[in-house]
């Protein structure tokens, strides 16, 4: 059995898929720890522009939208993402056309589910992300999403707050998007960044906590529903849920 190891990038995945697509029981993965079977043959695969382009062209020919689907699936925060994407890709190649409406096909169900998990989390963080004003007037927003969604939510905040300098920091993947009102860049960071906050910041957090407390109808408790919509793991950076923020 062949195991193609990639660096997790999209290009490396397509380069591996060049062979893996027809390599019936192979594994493609970018996981750091993998379990090896006795007959495993490890094939480290780097991005190869030529092979990558050939696979992508073919896919685009069959179904233009599939490249977007796969790009989203590869942002999943679980180790099986490459296999989900590969199985979906195989189906498209087999049927020489779009398969996303074949909703009773297990490979398609899985691909669409994983894609949905990524887009859902990106949608949620458009709401749950919290900015804090730093001393220099730059707004800093740390978050730790399950999936690699920084690039997905960035355009939303660039459209929404174009006049506000901000930093959105994915503390798990150690990268941040920087916007100064003119240019935008994505940079690698340390896990923790120390930021000095503006003197008003604490006051606004206090007001927000007060608002959060007042708007609740205490006679109708429904904590389970709250947690269903706003999972506890996201609370860490939300002032209304974390009194010890900062």
């Amino acid at each position: 059995m062949n195991i193609y190891i990639t660096d997790g990038s999209e290009d490396a995945f397509y380069s591996a898929a060049f062979y893996a697509c027809t390599d019936a029981d192979c594994v493609v993965t970018s996981a750091k720890h993998i379990q090896l079977t006795l007959d495993a043959r490890i094939i480290p695969t780097d991005a190869d522009p030529e092979k990558c382009a050939r696979v992508k062209n073919k896919l685009a020919q069959y179904d233009r939208g599939s490249l977007g689907d796969i790009s989203l699936i590869l942002r999943r925060g679980c180790d099986t993402r490459e296999m989900t994407a590969l199985n979906y890709l195989r189906r498209i190649v087999q049927s020489k056309g779009p398969v996303r409406d074949r909703l009773s096909d297990p490979a398609v169900i899985e691909a669409m589910d994983e894609r949905e998990k990524v887009t859902l989390e990106a949608h949620r963080f458009k709401g749950f992300l919290r900015f804090m004003e730093s001393e220099g007037g730059i707004f800093y927003a740390p978050f730790a999403p399950d999936n690699d969604i920084l690039e997905l939510i960035l355009p939303h905040f660039l459209r929404r707050l174009p006049t506000q300098a901000f930093v959105i920091h994915d503390t798990l993947r150690h990268k941040a998007a920087l916007w100064n009102g003119k240019d935008c860049a994505i940079a690698a960071t340390d896990e923790n960044v120390s930021v000095c906050f503006s003197p008003e910041e604490e006051n606004f957090q206090k007001l927000w906590r007060e608002y959060y407390r007042s708007v609740n109808i205490a006679q109708r408790p429904h904590e389970k529903q709250m947690k269903g919509y706003m999972p506890v793991r996201y609370w860490k950076f939300m002032p209304e849920k974390n009194p010890n923020l900062r």
Binding site: D101, L103, I109, F128, L161, W208, K224, M226
Partner: protein, 420 residues
């Protein structure tokens, strides 16, 4: 800047307004401005009562000259009073918005001095927010009944959504419980806005001029404080959806904050509110009419959801074959929601579906199995009275869970979306 104490008073008074959606408007960010609106709406937080926070819901003032019996802020009530200036509201919105706490503002007010005075202050505030503070985010403005026509029309050019609350399902109840409000004072502005929006949208397309209430109108009524039946309520909603092109009707089950001989002492159960929302969804997304769901004087059944009730009355139309039934019929199968119906329509183009496929597609079959066949096979119960019992039993389990908090993600989602 507003202090925590006044913020708390003005929020406490605003929190019984149910509407919190921020959808329906795609207002773009103007150059140099702050914010935009997102067409699908965005939830920014959730409170321990399970409701979402999308907008900063606040009153400009809770000093009221009206004496509506059910209202905690009525003139005679002994509560702390406060008000905020337009600038205080604007500053608060801007600083919350920049931190991504909120999607916009939901501004309302008690009737201070007179309807026109109050409406003027509300309009002044949102114009200030748009023009001076350059805010392009979402604004939901509550309309004050009987306010001046021109003021209401002006407000609609700056707000994304407006709402006049009809409060009660009948004129009689309104007269009895909110003596200073009148049916005309509520319905005439709604009619006016609907007509103006229609005229405006023709013009808007031609000239691309500024917006007029892009997210339309909504309304709210209190259920259980007055004797109207569910059938009556649904007919009223249906008429309002049709005549005023409302986006939503919100139902708020009555919570006794005030004791009065004309008002019930008990809370109206959440179940009744839930059933009304389910019926409302059936009218808006499933092609049902109010007449099909409940008779004029009837209440919705407690034992099972309104779609089950309809299906049980119309057993001669079932079972339907999953692989050939038209969309309208799939939507009428208990247990199959809009999402499920569309999934089935797509998937069956490629292959004939069996029960196994449906399960894999996560179509819930507990209720549906009594009403469908897959490739001619039927796994439900033949006897209608046992179907009735089974559905009621299943719904009972759900109900108990519901009262003690919606437990499974599906039921809680259903409570919010009304998906059956």
């Amino acid at each position: 800047m507003i202090d925590a104490k006044r913020l708390s008073i003005l929020t406490e008074s605003a929190k019984y307004d149910v509407s919190c959606s921020s959808s329906g408007s795609a207002r773009a960010n103007k150059k140099g401005g702050v914010g935009n609106a997102s067409i699908g709406g965005i939830c920014h937080s959730f409170t321990p009562d399970g409701r979402c926070i999308s907008l900063l819901k606040i009153l400009l003032s809770n000093k009221c000259v009206y004496n509506c019996l059910y209202c905690p802020n009525r003139a005679e009530a002994d509560v702390e009073r406060a008000s905020a200036t337009p600038d205080e509201i604007c500053e608060l919105v801007m600083s919350f918005y920049k931190r991504n706490y909120i999607e916009g503002l939901f501004l309302s007010s008690a009737v201070e001095k007179s309807p026109d005075y109050t409406m003027e202050r509300l309009v002044e505030t949102i114009i200030r927010l748009r023009k001076v503070y350059n805010f392009n985010g979402y604004i939901h403005l509550k309309g004050i009944p009987s306010a001046d026509r021109a003021l209401i029309s002006r407000a609609a050019r700056y707000a994304d959504r407006m709402s006049f609350n009809v409060e009660f399902p009948s004129e009689n109840s309104l007269k009895l419980l909110a003596p200073q409000k009148s049916k005309e004072g509520l319905l005439i502005p709604m009619k006016q806005l609907a007509a103006e929006k229609q005229a405006f949208s023709a013009e808007e397309k031609a000239k691309k001029i500024s917006k007029f209430l892009p997210a339309g109108q909504t309304t709210q009524m209190i259920v259980g404080a007055s004797p109207e039946s569910d059938g009556r309520i649904l007919r009223l909603s249906e008429a309002m959806y049709r005549k005023f092109s409302l986006k939503r009707v919100y139902y708020s089950s009555y919570v006794p904050v005030v004791h009065h001989s004309l008002l019930p002492d008990k809370c109206t159960g959440l179940l009744r509110e839930h059933r009304l929302y389910q019926a409302d969804w059936l009218m808006r997304f499933y092609g049902f009419s109010a007449g099909e769901i409940a008779g004029e004087g009837e209440n919705l059944p407690e034992e099972y959801d309104p779609k089950c009730a309809w299906a049980l009355k119309n057993m001669h139309l079932f079972p339907v074959e999953i692989n050939s039934a038209p969309l309208e019929m799939l939507l009428r199968v208990p247990g199959i929601g809009t999402l499920g119906a569309y999934k089935i329509i797509k998937a069956r183009k490629f292959t004939s579906l069996n029960f196994d496929n449906l399960a894999k597609m996560r179509i819930v079959l507990k209720r549906a199995k009594h009403f469908i066949t897959c490739g001619g096979k039927f796994f439900g119960c033949e006897n209608i009275s046992s179907v009735r019992t089974l559905l009621a039993l299943e719904s009972k389990e759900e109900k108990y869970e519901q009262l003690s908090l919606f437990s499974t993600p599906e039921t809680s989602l259903s409570a919010l979306t009304g998906q059956l």
